[in-house]
Amino acid sequence: MRGESLKSKIRTITDHAVTVLAVLATVLVVTPLVVIFGYLVFKGASSLNLAFFTEIPKPEGEIGGGMANSIVGSGVLLGLSSLIGVPLGIGGGIFLAEFGRGTALANAIRFTADVLNGVPSIVMGLAAYALIVSPHVSFLPFLGHFSAFSGGVALGIMMIPTVCRTTEEMLLMVPHAVREAALGLGVPNWRSVLSITLKTASPGIITGCMLAFARVAGETAPLLFTALGNSFMSTSLNQPIEALPLQIYVYALSPYDDQHRLAWAGALVLILLIVVAVSLVRYVTSRGVLKGAS
């Protein structure tokens, strides 16, 4: 009897201890995030005004101006990179999980994707530079000079491995019973993959895409010698283009206080842009989800 109650006491204490440890760990993880975001709001919010969103940068030394060109530029670059990275990544993931399972090709693709995921972003920029910016082929557009196109391609390629591997993993998590149900109805395999398996796995796949998007949204290095930067408003894929991380990088290193201010504001806007984009996608894709759907 005594032994029993001692045992149960120890169990209770262990339970409490583990709970406390878990809470502590959570606090440790969340604190830096909150501090960073708080500091960003503190430093950046005061410089946010209408001009920040509507004006392009003033010449060196002049007060004021905004980052309209960077915001638009980041939008263009991320739009292009998503157009490249999401379809290719999802397509690759579908192949890995559904059609190529166990084949040498699939193993090679999986290995390449994992390696690609670990390649430093500046190397990705160099690759885009070597493939798109440096070769001169006069009759082809986009080649031979710095351009939004080359920057978007560099970012897009960076998105592929993350999207591809999450897609694969999410598809493999779809229960076998669900695939069997579709096959049992006489649905051809390709149709079952696209309409059933992919749809069932879509919440996880969308999360993967958002992670990849958020990651490249803050990338500076791959843009340094591809998109290059542009002090004027541009939306052309064939011209150099400004991006928020590039502009932040330049302003943070500048000697002018006013540009430091703008850099802080830019960093805040960059984070808010990511938050808005992610929430928007979540909202749009969660419409039409039914009661009790898992």
Partner: protein
């Protein structure tokens, strides 16, 4: 209307494992036929051979012939065509989790390219009525996911989904083994009603269930069919000693 099934010399393998050996039997049209036997005896493999689901496993192999009505399913048809004529209900309810109740029932038609709304509405209603689920779900057809229903309702939803493509044969692989007694008896009532319109083959662990719903019963053991006869005969006066041992609970 249902059609009969003629199975001749059916053999099936998983890898090197010879799971079905020389099965020959005739399953009558518009009756329920039960397959009983201990776990691993090959009865599930057998029904999966009847709609070519067996071969969805890459290491699986089949020889022999199966005629469903006048169709030789291994020589005259592609797997998808076979499966459209032969519906299947699985052991665990497996509604499509992202689809509404309505879409689950309509899925077999929609995924095969059928889209006439009015006809779909009719078929969904008729199928849900046939599976005795209509009254419980008619107000939430498009609002609720198939996965939000209870286990027993989900299984009846899966039956409705199978019926919606108007199959000639309905294969049921232990359709009630994951369900509570009330849901089980609902499924059994359903089988009773459905067998006038469809040929039903039901795999079951539960011998009382076989006795209640089926006219014919086959006893499987170690990949072979030991005995196939009228349910009454199997349960009261089996010709084979092994059948008798099994139904009296001496093994399995």
């Amino acid at each position: 209307m249902g059609v009969g099934i003629e199975v001749n010399n059916l053999n099936a393998w998983y890898g090197t494992n010879h799971t079905l050996q020389d099965i020959t039997l005739n399953i009558p049209a518009n009756h329920a036929t039960a397959l009983i036997g201990p776990s691993g005896c090959g009865k599930s493999t057998f029904v999966r051979c009847l709609n070519r689901m067996h071969e969805t496993n890459p290491i699986a192999r089949v020889t022999g012939s199966v005629r469903v009505g006048d169709l030789d399913i291994y020589n005259d048809a592609k797997p998808v065509q076979v499966r459209r004529r032969i519906g299947m209900v699985f052991q665990r309810p497996n509604p499509f989790p992202t689809m509404s109740i309505y879409d689950n029932v309509a899925s077999g038609l929609k995924l095969n390219g059928y889209s006439n709304r009015r006809v779909l509405d009719d078929i969904v209603e008729k199928s849900l009525k046939n599976s005795a689920l209509w009254d419980e779900v008619k107000d939430d057809l498009k609002k609720k996911s198939g996965a939000s229903l209870s286990g027993g309702q989900q299984q009846r939803l899966c039956i409705a989904r199978a019926l919606a493509v108007d199959p000639e044969v309905l294969l049921m692989d232990e359709p009630a083994s994951a369900l509570d007694p009330v849901s089980t008896s609902k499924i059994e009532d359903l089988i009773f009603q459905l067998k006038s319109q469809y040929t039903i083959v039901i795999v079951t662990h539960n011998m009382q269930q076989a006795a209640r719903v089926a006219e014919k019963t086959g006893f499987f053991l170690n990949g072979r069919m030991v005995e196939f006869d009228s349910t009454h005969k199997i349960f009261t006066n089996p010709s084979d000693k092994r059948t008798e041992d099994y139904i009296t609970g001496r093994f399995g």
